[in-house]
């Protein structure tokens, strides 16, 4: 009787030990996995110092048709033709100088890269055309440029 009762006990004991070790490994490996994930997420900063990539530039009325205004702080050129508006980067795609506005479009003072009105390369060492950024109208009636979002050259925002 005693023998009989001992055997199943032992069996149960073994399975309990297995359950515990299984649970322990779930806990440990789970937290290790969680730690790995959070370490990985920590690599990317949630926010960095420096001007926001999304910024307000003012009301559409401030840019009458025909405007080409270069904003050196944010490094964009605001172009308005009729009721169409666009923001073109003024960072040279060659080595990052601020390109100036010239009669034919843009020209870089550093190594002489030249771009046409739409930012397409017409000369010099620049490898790529100047990117265009997305322009939207914020609820308070001001235009917003989002330098995180590039749009195809020729994509205008209609005021």
């Amino acid at each position: 009787m005693a023998e009989a009762s001992k055997a199943p006990d032992k069996k149960e004991d073994v399975s309990r030990r297995r359950i515990f070790s299984w649970l322990a490994s779930v806990g440990l490996f789970g937290s290790a996995a969680l730690a790995a994930v959070s370490d990985w997420l920590f690599f990317k900063p949630q926010v960095t110092y420096g001007p926001s990539a999304r910024f307000a530039i003012g009301k559409p009325d401030e840019f009458p048709p025909g405007t080409r205004i270069s904003r050196d702080v944010e490094r964009v050129c605001i172009v308005r033709e009729g009721n169409r508006l666009a923001a073109i980067s003024t960072t040279c795609t060659h080595l990052g100088c601020i390109v100036g506005i010239s009669d034919t479009g843009f020209s870089c003072p550093c190594h002489g890269s030249r771009y046409d009105q739409d930012g397409t390369v017409t000369g010099g060492p620049a490898p790529k055309p100047l990117p265009w950024f997305k322009v939207t109208l914020a609820p308070n009636g001001e235009l917003e440029v989002d330098k995180n979002t590039q749009v195809n050259p020729g994509t205008y925002f209609t005021v």
Partner: protein, 595 residues
């Protein structure tokens, strides 16, 4: 055992989970998601909706550099709808910031336009709080150690909760308005204006100083009080002056709550600086404040006299009846110093008196010329003193002291220190001619000026006799001539200077210092202090034979020993003298060099 391990591992897992949740699931994300949803339902067209769909929660920030220190304001991370007029009636945090005509906002075509745009001003410039914070407790400045909690919204009456109700209300924000709107009658800051009036009306200005407003010295300087203290502390200090400083003798003024509030707001607006100014503006304003306005056409001397008064020269120097008690008497300057000396000394006092403590004032050169031309007019000698004692009192006592012990009222500020006449060992071992010469011609590189134009020869002799009999007391001994060469017999060349430097480093640096500037490790305990051997104006006036005498036979009455006893030969001293001469080049004395 396994049970314990299982439990422990789950505890670790839970802790990890909590940390993970806190780090990556923020309340501001919920606010932003809510904003996107509500904004989507309010959008009028598909483009707007698509635009909102594309956005995902992230930290929003405005960096404002135009108002003093850089403000990094992340407030719109939660208060996303601050600039979205559609959210005017919503609850915080998704509530549009109200528009107000009083703040300069205008309505055009049925649409409000802000005067103070958030992209230019941020939030904390007006509201206070901690712009970088992303949790209420930090961002609103509830953290007890944050110096600028949101004004009128968050109070930190940590030690006196009963003040809290007094300290809420948007009128407290006027203290920040006044950082730029400094006009005394600015309509937007009635409480600041009232507080300013009270500051005068309640005689606060009598005891307290605020730069540009009052000069009181009895109480603490309140120029930067708004920068140092929070409003609860200010309130308490006014209604219960002895609450923080038991020894305060500030009276408890009869003020009602409205008065106290206005005063607190006014005091909170005193920051010493204001947001609208850059450092350059402040510097210019400072210059304008201390600038001396000379009426055009004023003669140079007259202008100089005004400059001396307005530049507060007599805060240190003595000029006739005004005496700062720190620096030498200027009353006879025209007889003592010439124009070149003065101009050199103005541009850099150390160029003439190498150990002078006078600051190098950066006044325009024109001002120096004017002051100098005024001082040059001070050529009236003092009325002839009846006795030598009176002459000593008038001219010498300021430095050499009433008792002749070199401890006059300004002596502490003068280096090398004035001679102590009571040290008979020194006074009796030097020939009388040397003292006469020192009085007549002054001592180069020190504050002892030449008196020959002020005192006649017989007066000088009289004063010297008075000094020797009154202070030195011991009768003059016959000075035994020492065997020293008149000229340095050792030719000055590279080898000799190198040998001299070796001896100097070995024997002399303990007192005279490794730089030979008289500031060696033992110098502090020695009175008179060891000579600064880089003081070219002094060293150049000392002939070789005196250097030989001082080194070989010591200087009685000072700590300088007789080095002949320590085995230095004439040749050694010759090398030393060559070394000392070599560190005091006779030409090319730059005004910026220490010597």
């Amino acid at each position: 055992m396994r049970l314990a391990l299982a439990i422990a591992s789950f505890v670790v897992l839970i802790v990890h989970g909590v940390v993970f949740y806190n780090q990556f699931f923020h309340r501001w994300e919920q606010h932003q998601t809510a904003y996107f949803e509500q904004a989507r339902s309010l959008s009028k067209n598909d483009a707007e909706r698509a635009e909102l769909e594309a956005r995902s929660p992230r930290v929003e920030q405005t960096i404002v550099t135009s108002f003093g220190d850089t403000h990094v304001d992340r407030c719109t991370t939660c208060h996303m709808a601050a600039d979205d007029p559609r959210f005017a009636g919503h609850a915080e945090p998704l509530k549009a910031h109200p528009y107000s005509a009083a703040m300069g906002d205008v309505q055009r075509n049925g649409r409000w336009e802000r005067r103070h745009k958030f992209s230019d001003f941020g939030c904390t410039v007006c509201h206070g709080g901690q712009g970088r914070g992303l949790e209420n407790v930090y961002s609103h400045g509830e953290d007890e150690f944050w110096p600028e909690p949101m004004l009128g919204y968050v109070t930190q009456a940590t030690w006196r909760k009963d003040f809290t109700p007094h300290l809420k209300g948007k009128e407290y924000m006027e203290a920040n308005c006044a950082q730029c709107h400094t006009a005394e009658d600015f309509a937007g800051t009635p409480h600041v204006n009232r507080g300013r009036k009270l500051f005068y009306a309640m005689n606060c200005y009598g005891c307290h100083k605020i730069d540009g407003m009052s000069e009181g010295t009895l109480g603490p300087d309140l120029t930067e009080v708004g920068h140092k203290f929070k409003i609860d502390y200010l309130w308490e200090s006014i209604v219960e002056p002895r609450a923080n400083l038991a020894t305060s003798f500030m009276p408890k003024f009869n003020l009602n709550d409205a008065d106290v509030e206005s005063l607190v707001i006014f005091l909170k607006s005193r920051r010493g600086v204001n947001f609208a100014e850059t450092t350059l503006d402040r510097y210019k304003a400072h210059i304008a404040n201390v600038a001396v306005v000379i009426p055009p056409g004023t003669a140079g001397e007259k202008a100089g006299e005004q400059l001396i008064a307005d530049r507060a020269c007599t805060a240190c120097h003595k000029l006739r009846d005004k005496d700062g008690g720190i620096a030498p008497d200027l009353s006879y300057e025209g007889l003592i110093r010439d124009n070149a000396w003065m101009m050199d000394h103005f541009k850099n006092p150390r160029s003439r008196v190498p150990d002078s403590i006078m600051p190098t004032f950066r006044f325009p050169e024109e001002d120096f010329t004017r002051i100098s031309s005024y001082l040059q007019t001070l050529k009236a000698p003092p009325p002839p003193a009846a006795t030598a004692a009176a002459a000593y009192k008038e001219l010498c006592e300021r430095c050499h002291g009433e008792k002749g012990d070199g401890n006059g009222k300004v002596a502490w500020y003068i280096d090398p220190s004035p001679r102590d006449f009571t040290k008979a060992g020194f006074m009796n071992s030097k020939p009388r001619d040397r003292f006469v010469a020192s009085i007549q011609n002054g001592v180069g590189g020190t504050s002892m000026p030449p008196w020959k134009n002020v005192l006649k020869d017989e007066q000088i002799n009289g004063v010297l006799t008075y000094v020797l009999t009154t202070f030195t007391k011991e009768p003059q001994r016959e000075v035994k001539p020492h065997k020293v060469p008149q000229q340095n017999p050792v030719a000055s060349n590279k080898e000799s200077i190198a040998r001299g430097e070796g001896i100097f480093l070995e024997r002399c640096t303990g007192c005279h210092g490794r730089k030979a500037d008289g500031k060696g490790p033992n110098s502090l305990d020695i009175l008179p202090h060891p000579r600064n051997l880089r003081n070219s104006w002094f060293v150049d006036t000392v002939p070789d034979n005196r250097l030989f005498d001082s080194i070989l036979y010591g200087v009685q009455g000072t700590a300088m020993p007789s080095w002949i006893d320590y085995g230095l030969t004439q040749e050694n001293v010759g090398d030393l003298v060559n070394f000392i001469r070599s560190i005091n080049p006779k030409t090319a004395r730059s005004q910026y060099a220490r010597n």
